[in-house]
């Protein structure tokens, strides 16, 4: 699952992420991170069964943790099953079944958004998050 970690401005210069990894021993995957006036935001991916322990690790250090549904949304009325999205997806979310019908394995989606610009039919969208 994917989590949005919000780090308050006064904790930006701390080693919060390293501490959480060492403490929880959870191998997490950092998808994106950014720093702006309201603090830092990281999107990470962890195994589903580690949610409680990872959440505790971050919240005890003053960060907030929000489970994130960043998966793309596919509008099946607009989709014509062309498959343009297939080759740009870094995690291979899309594939054809034996009838050339487009399949999407949303559990693989990291919400990078490359496919939304590729789709000629505007059938793919990512829910906004900041």
């Amino acid at each position: 699952m994917k989590l949005k970690i919000q780090i308050p401005p006064n904790k930006i210069n701390t080693t919060i992420i390293a501490e959480v990894i060492l403490e929880t021993k959870v191998i997490l995957n950092l998808i994106s991170s950014s720093i702006h006036s309201k603090g830092g935001i990281m999107i990470i991916e962890i195994p589903d069964n580690m949610f409680d322990i990872v959440k505790a690790g971050f919240t005890s250090r003053g960060a907030s943790v929000i489970p994130l549904d960043v998966s793309i949304k596919r509008d099946e009325d607009e989709c014509v099953d062309c498959g343009a999205c297939i080759s740009v997806c870094p995690t291979r979310v899309f594939s054809f079944d034996e009838n050339w019908e487009l399949q999407a394995d949303l559990s693989k989606c990291t919400g990078c958004g490359l496919c939304t610009k590729m789709c000629p039919h505007k059938a793919l969208e990512i829910p906004e998050f900041d």
Partner: protein
């Protein structure tokens, strides 16, 4: 033994014609042989569903109470060409709405066509200069397709026989009409239906000609000629088509937008191929593996894009192709699922006797080719303005030698080469020399040169080379031949000399 189209039409009317799709035909031929297939199969249906940018429609609005000769015409803010009498206009699929830009593509001619076919209301705005016979100067009204006298799709170039696929050899993502192309050859996109492609199933234009009745956008329409740029001679044929939009089905006509390019129209076209003899049975037994196209590097800003590889539709459809020892994922841009639906829908129409084959009144020549544009204001090539005898230095040379060559030639850039053919290895600049002096590393050019050199070819246009120079923030590039050997040097000074008129007549 052979059949005629009239004989096949008699069978269709009696309800005992044998109709198969172009996807079924190869296996049938394998199973029962060409002779029997030619005798038993009457019609092979083809189908394609993909982006057909060169599409549009003639619309006739009828006359307003006070007549107007529409000079500027907009449909939902998309300009339609109305330089054809008073109240006719041609709406082209790729025309963007007035308030759209290439960075913000939301609506275009293709959307107008889709909205009309879906029965949606369109705002018509027209302006004119006013004449004695057409006094009205402005009109704004809302219309649907039912309010139009005619809405006839007339497409200059549809149903490409096959289409070269696309990749990107540069280090930046590019957005093209072939979709989003990732840097460093990380994806390939392709278009066309392969095995189901109409023209690939009748490459000799035996039955596809002017007057051939076709499936277009879910309606019955016609081939009205060879398409523009039709290159029947090289196997890249195209067709000019027409169909009545009032009878079309939204399932087979979809507006699309390619990021960074513009709008386009996805259109379903299906053509029945009558099996008149063994030759036609053979032509329609073509498979994906028999139809090959080039993969071209779309990052090269030239008409003749370099060919990275030649592949078949079978390879493209497998999902991966190999480029430079890497397995690269492929994306179709056309929908094979809908191409199948077009071919099977057309098959159903014929089986049910609702679709009678048209007999072409004229065939399409097999020797057509397309010329490039004649450009009278010719842009010079790199080879025209480069320094053809650049000073070079061997990579085994010393920095002191490089510095001496710079001083003697008053050049700030010296390509570093190796071997008898002057193979490009790097470039050394006066900045690199200063750095070497300050660090005391004077004995090897190879150690202080820039190894990742930005270069160009002599046959590239200078505007393309100039944009590479400025986007890299550098002031000189070695010019190399196809083997990577240095044949020249081009500097920002060479470009500025162009404008002072010293280098070109």
């Amino acid at each position: 033994m052979s059949k005629t189209i009239a004989e096949i039409n008699e069978k269709i009317k009696r309800g005992d014609a044998c109709v198969v799709t172009a996807e079924e035909m190869p296996d049938i031929v394998d199973r029962i042989g060409l002779g029997r297939a030619a005798r038993e199969v009457d019609v092979v249906t083809t189908g394609t569903f993909g982006a057909m940018c060169s599409s549009g429609a003639f619309l006739n609005f009828g006359h307003s109470e006070i007549p107007i000769r529409m000079a500027k015409t907009y449909l939902n803010k998309v300009e339609a060409y109305s330089g054809v009498a008073a109240v006719d206009a041609y709406i082209g699929a790729t025309q963007l709405a007035r308030d759209n830009t290439v960075d913000d593509i939301r609506y275009g001619g293709a959307n107008v066509i889709e909205d009309l076919i879906c029965g949606r209301t369109i705002e018509l705005k027209a302006e004119s200069y006013g004449t004695d016979c057409y006094p009205l100067k402005e009109i704004t009204t809302n219309i649907t397709i039912d309010d139009l006298n005619q809405a006839v799709m007339v497409n200059p170039r549809n149903a490409y026989q096959r289409y070269d696929s696309a990749t990107n050899g540069s280090n930046k993502i590019i957005h093209t009409y072939m979709g989003e192309l990732l840097p460093d050859y990380r994806n390939v996109t392709y278009s066309g239906a392969g095995i189901l492609s109409p023209l690939s199933n009748d490459p000799e234009y035996r039955s596809i000609g002017i007057g051939t009745r076709i499936f277009i956008g879910g309606a019955q329409g016609y081939v009205i000629g060879p398409g523009t740029q039709c290159s029947s001679a090289s196997g890249f044929g195209t067709l000019m088509t027409m169909g009545d939009m009032k009878k079309m089905n939204p399932e087979y006509v979809n507006a699309a937008a390619f990021t960074g390019y513009g709008t386009s129209l996805y259109l379903g076209i299906g053509i029945p191929i009558p099996i008149l003899d063994e030759n036609m049975a053979k032509a329609t037994s073509v498979r994906d593996s028999d139809i090959t196209v080039s993969i071209k590097d779309y990052s090269v800003k030239n008409r003749d894009r370099p060919v990275v590889k030649t592949v078949s539709y079978a390879e493209l459809k497998s999902g991966f192709v190999e480029i430079y020892n890497h397995s690269v994922p492929t994306s179709p841009l056309s929908s094979f699922k809908r191409a199948r639906k077009v071919a099977s829908e057309l098959k159903r129409w014929i089986l049910e006797g609702d679709f009678i084959l048209g007999t072409p009144v004229e065939t399409i020549p097999q020797n057509l080719s397309a010329k490039p544009m004649k450009e009278t204001m010719k842009i010079p090539l790199v080879g025209d303005i480069m320094d053809k005898f650049p000073i070079t230095i061997e990579k085994t040379g010393s920095v002191v030698e490089a510095a001496r060559k710079m001083r003697e030639s008053s050049k700030n850039h010296i390509p570093v080469v190796f071997g008898p053919k002057n193979h490009l290895e790097g470039i050394i600049t006066s900045w690199d020399v200063s750095k070497a002096v300050s660090e005391g590393t004077l004995n090897s050019v190879e150690k202080c040169m820039t190894k990742k050199v930005i270069y160009c070819y002599p046959d590239e246009k200078i505007d393309v080379a100039a944009s590479r120079l400025s986007s890299a923030g550098i002031s000189a590039m070695p010019v190399v031949d196809s083997e990577g050997n240095v044949v020249g040097l081009i500097t920002s000074e060479d470009f500025s000399k162009l404008f002072s008129g010293r280098k070109l007549q």
